[in-house]
């Protein structure tokens, strides 16, 4: 064997140990998707805190593994597998809920409690999508996990799919976060279509001031009520209200500050990156992923429409009318859907400030989607 043959042989062996040898079109497509996410986050400012970790995770997850080396989230013993443990076993979402609780101000909801119903109405999207997924041939567990995309709450969607349909986790998480980033694009046409100019101009009364004592008691009472009626929601609701109690009780400022800054940032990085890394082409580019994306869009649209229409329905009985635009904030997506209500409202009346009113159904939507997830989990995981 000559030197040339020897070198060619070695070069071919070297090529086989690189990722190029097993690179497929699917991987290239997914790497492009990851890069689009990163572009949208950096250039267009679409949910950058989520899309940058997810986008980079997608790129990492689609570098083909070398045979015999445990590298991806699906390989036993790989480092990525250990990081993915928090997603697979539903550890990260409750920790994110703790941080969300420590950030959330429930006082607008406490000052105008009837707006909580808008958060409940938006959950129609969850259950209608659940039924749609059943009709399309998904199993009840898979349909439940897909339906929760309509709750517009990434951690809830990941938590429920990790419990009910781990095989769809990547697609569901990507769909949920993508549509959450697209809330400013999806919601306004639906809101405008379902409301009249006069309805969009409705000005709501300023809400009353809520005392510190009320804000301290609410997370305790709220937790008891919600978990007694839907015990399946104990993990998510428990962490949400616990975080809120840390914030409101005035004696645990350090814990609340850690939960809403450092801790939630660390968990968001791990969650986003691992979810992205789980979207390797062989697992992600399937017919069911396309269906999940279609159903996710339907879930968001139905949830938005339900909130707006329910606000109009409530107006039939109320003396002080509600601006129906804030019904769209019933899909959680905190605080983007509330911001959208404010922006659409200001297009009709630049002096109308709906943001604080919209925050009430917005945070009620978080509670509502966690309860919906609890019901689906407790009924389907039997």
């Amino acid at each position: 064997m000559g030197t040339t043959d020897f070198l060619l042989n070695k070069a071919s062996e070297l090529l086989e140990t690189t990722a190029f040898s097993s690179l497929e079109w699917g991987n290239l497509i997914m790497i492009m998707v990851g890069m689009i996410f990163i572009y949208l986050a950096i250039a267009k400012d679409y949910e950058p805190l989520l899309l940058v970790p997810i986008g980079f995770g997608v790129v990492v997850g689609n570098i083909p593994a070398v045979p015999g080396m445990p590298l991806s989230v699906y390989d036993e013993g790989s480092v990525m597998r250990y990081l993915y443990f928090g997603v697979e076993k539903g550890v990260y979402p409750p920790l994110i809920f703790l941080g969300i609780g420590a950030m959330t101000d429930f006082s607008t909801m406490l000052s105008n409690p009837k707006l909580i119903l808008l958060g409940a109405a938006a959950q129609v999207g969850v259950f209608l999508t659940f039924l749609g997924a059943l009709v399309l041939g998904f199993s009840p567990n898979q349909a439940g996990a897909i339906g929760i995309i309509g709750g517009a709450d990434g951690p809830t969607a990941i938590f429920l799919s990790s419990k009910l349909a781990p095989e769809l986790l990547g697609a569901i998480a990507i769909a949920a976060y993508s549509y959450m980033a697209l809330v400013p694009v999806i919601q306004p046409p639906i809101m405008t279509l379902l409301t009249t100019e006069a309805e969009r101009k409705i000005r709501m009364k300023p809400s009353r001031q809520v005392s510190t004592r009320e804000r301290i008691l609410f997370p305790i009472i709220g937790f008891l009520v919600c978990t007694m009626l839907a015990p399946g929601a104990i993990v998510l609701i428990g962490m949400l209200f616990f975080g809120n109690l840390l914030k409101e009780c005035t004696v645990t400022d350090r814990l609340a500050a850690t939960a809403r800054t450092t801790m939630i940032d660390i968990v968001t990085i791990l969650l986003g990156f691992c979810v992205g890394a789980s979207t390797s082409a062989s697992h992600f580019l399937t017919e069911s992923s396309i269906l999940i994306f279609c159903l996710g869009a339907l879930a968001f649209a139905v949830a938005t429409a339900s909130g707006v229409l329910f606000a109009k329905f409530m107006n039939l009985f109320l003396k002080d009318k509600i601006n129906p635009l804030i019904g769209a904030a019933g899909v959680s997506a905190v605080p983007d859907s509330a911001r959208v209500a404010q922006i659409v409202g200001q297009k009709a009346d630049p002096q109308n400030f709906l943001l604080m009113h919209a925050m009430a159904p917005n945070v009620a939507g978080v509670i509502g989607s966690a309860i919906a997830a609890g019901v689906l989990w407790s009924q389907l995981a039997k």
Binding site: S107, S211, R213, E214, V225, C226, A230, V251
Partner: protein
């Protein structure tokens, strides 16, 4: 025969809806969500009344207030007129600002002090406004 086949396919497709984990579960789920949140509404609506009773039996003690306020300047009547009211010189500034922005005669019907949560939104707005003026580095 073709109609029978279509009927069979559609009935098999929609069959999962009529099982226990179909429409009945969806209806039950919506009921639980509405029930839980309605109970919350009732409890929250009773808060003002309950707080009134609680304040009578268990008055609020400001045992953490002393530490926080020790270094702050004493509040004078010039800064805050009465609880929740806005002092006249601040009102004059608000009126001038509104006149300037609206470019015409205006009548201010009502003013009120912002609550802590509202101030948080104002602060967020300010941060965003300042963040929008990023300094561009120029390559010369």
């Amino acid at each position: 025969m073709m109609f029978a086949l279509i009927g069979e396919v559609s009935s098999s497709r929609f069959a999962p809806l009529f099982e226990e984990t179909g429409i009945p579960l969806a209806i039950m789920g919506m009921l639980v969500v509405f029930l839980a949140l309605t109970v919350l509404i009732l409890i929250i609506s009773a808060f003002p009344f309950a707080m009134g009773l609680l304040d009578r039996w268990l008055p609020v003690s400001h045992h953490h207030a002393g530490k926080a306020k020790s270094k702050s300047k004493p509040i004078t009547n010039e800064t805050v007129a009465h609880d929740g009211e806005i002092p006249p010189h601040i009102l004059a500034i608000i009126a001038a600002a509104v006149f300037e922005m609206e470019e015409g005669p205006v009548r201010i019907v009502r003013t009120r002090q912002l609550t802590t949560s509202e101030l948080a939104w104002t602060l967020e707005g300010r941060i965003r406004h300042h963040a929008s003026h990023r300094l561009q580095t120029r390559n010369r």
